[in-house]
């Protein structure tokens, strides 16, 4: 009995260990999906105990895994772990989710591969209508002649390099563009094998402005092998005439025997991988200068297919209100580098230029640049905003072309806001019966202003100022200098008259002394004869004349103070002698 019970217990234990066997399953919620769908991959591990490692996902280049959930349940100490991965498809085409591996207690468990078909957005029901057909339907090693030149150039290079599993090609739409002419650079990274962790380094450029344009993906069959490629496009514009260079673009990718997904690396794990890189060839360009004869309305645009239009809003305003006058140019090329439009002046308007704005519409297919100015009319009336010209250089014809907008009509009405800051309202009636109803400017003047008055006209007679000032100066000069000179000149004549009329010796002596005093400031009354003679000599009288004067003066003194000796001397004689002496003195001192 005990033996039977022991055998039963052993059986149960063995059976338990058998039932606790680890199982690993994986399934996807869908196997046909579009690029817009997401796929949920469920990995279930049953029959494990204790700590376990995470299942290891295969390399999934066709998907981005962005979410992971873990669910755990235990029954009789047996644990079931459910891992759910949410993934987004990246490429169109057939792809395989490889075996998922799980390591537990030295054993490795693997799931079956899952095949998934990814279609382009909105066309899952048409497996044949996928984007990769553009090239993988071309079995020949020459590009489709119907391809555009840029795509054809890329495809040609790809055919030449298709012996390698990874390579890059680059091509431009024009190798000798004009300054400011927009060209396209396309760079493709081709791969026929899985890879991971592949950072991209854009090319460096010189003498070129570069701007990202778009990115896309596709496939191309080369020598019977399906290659996938990722394409990046750029818009290029030559900055200045001369050589320009587009450097190499590089992708550094990792390949390995056991590549890890990002999630695997996040949770640990190791793999054997190898870092490699692929680069495109540098492309030299020659930028051509724009020809001369640029019109004044040329602002730097180079290209074709531009349209230009202008509008004014609002078209009916009051005087003093703002009108927005805008001009917009549309075109396929980048318009940002073009210069600001100069609006024409409009008579009667104040002009306030505003900043321009540029952008694109229709999914970046059409660029635009809008120029704006604010006009403020100062007076009422009907005005016409003139046509605006905008020129561009057409590289196809190598000529400048000018676009012209239509003139815009603006109606400006008188301002109704005249009361700002002033009360035009009617005042209350006054007791006198007078009431101010409104206040307005006084009426026009219907004649010209009268001629300026006499005072205004006198303001022009500046010469009289000078004349009268001169007269005043003359008077002052005369009063200070001329008057004395005149007195001196009159002295001799006065002395002569006095001598003629002299009735006595004293009269003669007085006339002579007065002459000397007025003429030479010699005071004969207080000076001896010797000093008088010396003073006369100083005044320029000759010695002989001085001698004559001394003799005359002695005779006068004798006649006045010694009458006995002077009896013979008559006043007449002395007067004549004095006149002769004074005449000599006058002559000698005149010069």
């Amino acid at each position: 009995m005990h033996k039977k019970l022991f055998a039963l217990f052993l059986f149960i234990l063995l059976a338990g260990s058998v039932f606790a066997q680890v199982t690993l399953t994986a399934n996807a919620d869908k196997t046909v999906l579009t690029l817009d769908d997401e796929l949920t991959l469920t990995v279930r591990v049953t029959g494990v105990k204790g700590n376990v490692t995470m299942p290891q996902l295969p390399s999934l280049p066709a998907f981005n895994v962005y979410s992971r959930e873990v669910e755990q349940s235990s029954i009789n100490r047996n644990t079931t772990l459910t891992f759910r991965y949410t993934m987004l498809p990246r490429f169109v085409g057939q792809t395989i989710i490889g075996p998922i591996t799980f390591h537990y207690q030295g054993s490795t468990y693997k799931t079956e591969p899952i095949s998934v078909r990814i279609y382009r957005n909105g066309s899952p029901a048409k497996p044949s209508d996928s984007s990769h057909t553009n090239t993988d339907l071309a079995p020949t090693q020459q590009p489709d002649p119907n391809l555009p030149p840029l795509e054809s150039a890329l495809a040609s290079q790809a055919y030449a390099l298709g012996t390698q599993p990874f390579f890059m090609v680059a091509a431009v739409s024009n190798r000798s563009p004009y300054v400011n002419q927009e060209i396209t650079l396309a760079i493709r990274f081709y791969y026929s094998q899985n890879f991971y962790d592949a950072p991209y380094q854009k090319p460096t450029v010189s003498n070129i402005f570069m701007e990202d344009a778009s990115s896309s993906e596709g496939t191309q069959t080369i020598r019977g092998t399906l290659f996938r490629y990722q394409e990046q496009r750029y818009r290029l514009m030559g900055a200045a005439p001369g050589p320009a260079t587009i450097g190499a673009a590089t992708v550094t990718y990792h390949v390995g025997s056991s590549p890890l997904s990002a999630l695997d690396r996040l949770f640990g794990g190791s793999a054997v991988s190898e870092e490699r890189s692929a680069s495109s060839a540098p492309i030299p360009l020659q930028i051509r200068p724009l020809p001369g004869g640029q019109p004044s309305s040329f602002y730097g645009a180079v290209g074709t297919g531009y349209t230009f239009r202008a509008e004014a809003q609002p078209q009916q305003v009051e005087a003093g209100e703002a009108v927005n006058w805008t001009a917009t140019v549309y075109g396929a090329t980048n318009l940002k580098p073009t210069k600001e439009l100069i609006f024409p002046n409009v008579e009667g308007f104040k002009n306030y230029p505003a900043a321009s704005a540029s952008g694109s519409v229709s999914g970046n297919a059409l660029n635009y640049k809008t120029f704006k100015t604010v006009l403020v009319p100062s007076a009422s009336g009907i005005y016409t905003l003139p046509a605006i010209e905008w020129s561009f250089f057409n590289p196809a014809t190598a000529r400048y072309q000018t676009l012209k907008t239509q003139p815009v009509s603006i109606t400006v009405t008188p301002s109704t806001r005249e009361a700002d800051g002033y009360d035009f309202s009617a005042s209350h009636p006054t007791g006198s019966g007078f009431q101010t109803l409104n206040t307005d400017v006084r009426y026009l003047k219907t004649t010209y202003a009268p001629e300026p008055g006499w005072l205004s006209q006198l303001a022009g007679w500046k010469i009289i100022n000078a004349i009268l000032l001169g007269l005043l100066a003359g008077c002052v000069l005369f009063a200070s200098v001329g008057r004395k000179s005149l007195v001196k000149k009159k002295t001799f004549a006065t002395a002569k008259n006095q001598l003629k009329k002299a009735a006595s010796v004293n009269d003669v002596a007085e006339a002579t002394a007065s002459y000397l005093h007025q003429k030479f400031h010699i005071n004969t009354g207080s000076l001896p004869l010797k000093d008088i003679a010396a003073s006369l000599k100083k005044c320029g009288v000759r010695p002989a004349t001085v001698e004559s004067f001394s003799l005359l003066w002695q005779r006068l003194d004798a006649a006045r103070f010694a009458p006995a000796d002077s009896a013979m001397q008559s006043a007449m004689d002395l007067s004549e002698q004095a006149m002769d002496v004074l005449s000599l003195i006058e002559e000698e001192t005149k010069s």
Binding site: G320, A379, D440, V441, L444, Y448, A449, L455, I464
Partner: protein, 240 residues
């Protein structure tokens, strides 16, 4: 011969009157019909022939006022006022327009009669008066120098001449300052000559400014009524 000469002068003056008056009549006719912009064009055209006529400036100011452009109206009334300060219509319209812009013609605290007296003569008339007084002073000075008579009269006249010279000097200073008026509906006073400088104030049209300096497209101005100093765009103001 004399008669022919006089007839010629009379005919010439008649031709002048007949060619000038229709322009003013036509302007008045348009003004009465409310066609202010057309009347304005006519008066501005006429101003080329009579560049100093205060009445033409007055009429232009009226047209601008009627069209709602008070700033330009103030500018033209000021031009008229400078040339004919005694004209009551010009004074009234200038005073009214400045009041409509929130400013006064007569500074606060100054009696109206003093202001009228101060502007009783134009600068040219004042210059003429100054000259006449100077001439009389010179003649009296000569008389006094030669005859030593009339000194009290000379001193009195010299004192009067100095007063008139002071009056004339202040008026010349007033005339020589570069005045301007805000012509756009609103202008911004900035702290520097460029839109990169912040705006310290906005000012409506019709306000009087004194221009201090100029740089590129900017004026440095003083707004005396507000005690402001800053920079304003040239195209926002009208120089008087």
């Amino acid at each position: 011969m004399k008669r022919i000469f006089l007839m010629g002068i009379l005919l010439l003056s008649l031709i002048r009157v007949s060619s000038a008056q229709p322009a003013l009549s036509q302007g008045e006719s348009l003004y009465r019909q409310g066609k202010f912009s057309q009347a304005l064009s006519l008066y501005e055209q006429e101003l080329k022939n009579h560049p100093n006529d205060p009445f033409l400036y007055y009429n232009i100011g009226n047209c601008y006022f009627k069209m709602g452009s008070k700033g330009l109206a103030v500018a033209n009334y000021y031009r008229a006022f400078k040339r004919a300060p005694r004209d009551l219509d010009i004074r009234h319209n200038l005073s009214l327009t400045r009041a409509a812009c929130g400013e006064r013609l007569v500074p606060s605290g100054v009696p109206e009669s003093i202001h009228r007296l101060y502007f009783a003569l134009s600068v040219t008339e004042l210059t003429g008066l100054l000259f006449v007084l100077f001439w009389i002073c010179c003649l009296l000075g000569c008389f006094w120098v030669l005859k030593r008579k009339g000194f009290p009269v000379l001193i009195t006249l010299l004192g009067l001449w100095i007063c008139v010279a002071g009056w004339w000097y202040t008026r010349i200073q007033w005339e020589n300052q570069t005045l301007a008026v805000i012509a756009s509906p609103v202008a911004e006073i900035r702290s520097g000559p460029g839109t990169n400088f912040p705006a310290s104030a906005s000012i409506t049209q019709g306000h009087l400014l004194t221009i201090q300096d100029s740089k590129d497209t900017w004026y440095e101005v003083i707004v005396k009524s507000q005690g402001l100093k800053g920079w304003v765009e040239k195209n926002a103001v009208e120089k008087i």
